[in-house]
């Protein structure tokens, strides 16, 4: 097997007294969808924030494509090919929907120190930007103002921005949360199709989605990765069953899907 695209070793981060992640080891293989699941407050978002460079880990290392990126600033990581979507929608509210994705494309196209040619007439930007919007089903809204979209559409735009750059690794923080059933289903198909070209770290609460998509699953509880493995292994894991059954009501046993 090839070396994984992304590795973390002993990633720890504490906020005052709360340890949000503790000694997390993670391997995301090339072309794989790796799901991270866990109850609310388990530290999943904190993990992504460290991978994307918005939070500096207290200790531990992050290796991406064979390179230690632990100390690299956010923008430099993004340019290496790590794209992130946010659990709490983070878009450009004052811009049009197309402009939002256009910026995502521009970030990876280099050449942002162009002062003269009109960006919105630049096919190298609008082409991929439009394509990303079509992929998530927002093509018809391209000219609308981003702030005017519905909540579900905001979520779609959030994904489109992560897709629009030519990133190798997508860090998706609950991408389907807030979407309708139809869009969710569309997104599952979309993500599965991406495996050809991208690797995905997927945080998701919907177990149907997780088991439909994931090649590997890591379970986090209280900041620790308590289990990691193939979906069947996770389904069978005693620790996981206990942790989850302890947290949630009956009938929501994982893998019941």
């Amino acid at each position: 097997m090839n070396a994984p695209l992304l590795e973390t070793r002993g990633l720890s981060k504490a906020f005052g007294g709360i340890t949000a992640t503790e000694g997390v080891d993670l391997d995301v293989g090339e072309g794989k969808i790796h799901a991270v699941i866990g109850p609310n407050g388990a530290g999943k978002t904190t993990l992504i924030a460290q991978l994307a460079g918005m939070l500096a880990p207290d200790s531990g290392r992050i290796i991406f494509a064979g390179r230690d990126i632990t100390r690299l600033p956010t923008h430099a990581r993004a340019r290496l090919g790590i794209a992130r979507s946010f659990q709490i929608t983070s878009i450009f509210h004052a811009m049009s929907v197309l402009d939002n994705t256009l910026l995502a494309v521009q970030a990876h196209d280099g050449h942002s120190y162009r002062f003269w040619r009109r960006a919105r007439r630049d096919k190298r930007l609008t082409g991929p930007a439009m394509a990303a919007l079509e992929q998530v089903g927002l093509g018809h809204k391209a000219a609308s103002n981003a702030s005017g979209l519905s909540h579900g559409e905001h979520r779609q735009l959030e994904i489109a921005m992560a897709l629009a750059g030519a990133s190798k690794l997508l860090l998706l923080d609950e991408p389907m949360a807030g979407m309708g059933a139809e869009e969710s289903a569309r997104m599952v198909v979309l993500l599965r199709g991406l495996k050809e070209t991208k690797s995905i770290l997927l945080i998701e609460h919907d177990m149907d989605v997780v088991f439909a998509l994931a090649d590997r699953i890591t379970v986090m509880v209280d900041g620790k990765a308590i289990a990691s493995g193939k979906p069947e292994q996770i389904r069978a894991d005693e620790n996981v069953r206990r942790a989850y059954l302890g947290m949630e009501g009956p009938g929501e046993t994982i893998g019941d899907a």
């Binding site: 600033p73 923008h75 910026l103 002062f115 921005m161």
Partner: protein, 314 residues
């Protein structure tokens, strides 16, 4: 289709400025020309401020410093007998850019109100630095014997020719800003204003875009200062005073921050208002201050915003 109110007003204003010299000649009202010159020069500076403030979200309270720097770039060479515009103008632009680069490097590390206060403080630093240089007149500044020379091309001493030089700078500044904000660079700057964190996670080093934008605006404002020095035949630290920076911000906001022509409208309204008030009463700051407060409290979006509303209503 809505009637293009904004476009109409833009064209009308520019046309009016273009034919003004002929009109004032016919009406024998030379002071109007003088007023229009002041408006256009300060509007050029305000347009540059709008680039960082309106489009980039960088509330600089030290923009008048660049006007002073530009004026000194006329005066100091002239003091040593160097009148060539080919020396003075590049010197002004270069000095403005350099000052913006050095101070911006520090200012832009900070955010929000720290940024406002630090830009203010650096402008004040420039002010006091020039106050303390006795050689160039200290507090009182110095008179410039003649305007920049562009021998054989333009005679800056001719009021009409100088007028059109200023108009070209104003229109050039407007055009430059309109290109910049619609180009890739401008998209990045506006994105950083809207959502800095998202820009970084997309892969933009927002600090550098801001800094580059800040430097461009500084260079443009210094060019306006070069015009101002020529216009006044005079330079002094007072030109850098922070109340002038406040006036520039007021022009931008009054006209509509982040709209291309807003700063020009703001400059027109503010300077005419000041002119009228100050000839009516010596207590004009009292009234202007009250108007300013009222504008902030009750009128939002500026003049361009009002025009846009008009456009939609029709």
């Amino acid at each position: 289709m809505h009637p293009p109110v904004r476009l109409g007003v833009r064209i009308a204003v520019l046309l009016a400025l273009a034919v003004l010299p002929a009109l004032t000649g016919a009406l024998d009202q030379p002071f109007l020309l003088d007023l229009a010159l002041r408006i256009m020069i300060l509007a050029t500076a305000a347009v540059s401020l709008n680039l960082i403030l309106g489009y980039g979200g960088m509330i600089s309270f030290g923009h008048a410093a660049y006007i002073g720097i530009g004026a000194y770039a006329v005066g100091i060479p002239a003091y040593y007998g160097e009148y060539s515009g080919y020396v003075q103008l590049p010197l002004a632009i270069g000095a403005g850019a350099l000052f913006a680069l050095v101070t911006g490097y520090i200012c832009l590390r900070t955010k929000g109100v720290y940024f406002i206060m630090i830009t203010l403080a650096f402008a004040q630093m420039a002010y006091f630095a020039f106050v303390s240089i006795e050689e160039y007149g200290g507090d009182d500044g110095l008179v410039i014997e003649q305007r920049s020379e562009f021998t054989g091309i333009i005679d800056m001493e001719s009021t009409h020719q100088f007028y059109y030089v200023v108009l070209v700078f104003l229109v050039g500044a407007l055009y430059l800003v309109s290109r910049i904000v619609n180009a890739r660079f401008g998209m990045a700057v506006q994105g950083a204003k809207d959502n800095d964190q998202r820009m970084q996670s997309l892969g933009f080093d927002t600090f550098r875009y801001r800094l580059a934008c800040y430097v461009i605006a500084g260079a443009m404002a210094a060019a306006a200062g070069w015009l101002m020095g020529n216009y006044n035949y005079f330079f002094s630290p007072e030109m850098m005073g922070w109340t002038h920076s406040g006036e520039l911000i007021f022009m931008v906001v009054l006209g509509g921050a982040g709209s291309l022509f807003g700063p020009l409208y703001g400059a027109i309204v503010l300077i005419i208002l000041e002119e009228q008030l100050s000839s009516a009463t010596v207590y004009w700051p009292l009234i202007l201050g009250a108007i300013l407060i009222a504008v902030v409290l009750f009128a939002r979006g500026g003049l361009e915003g009002m025009l846009a509303k008009l456009e939609r209503r029709k």
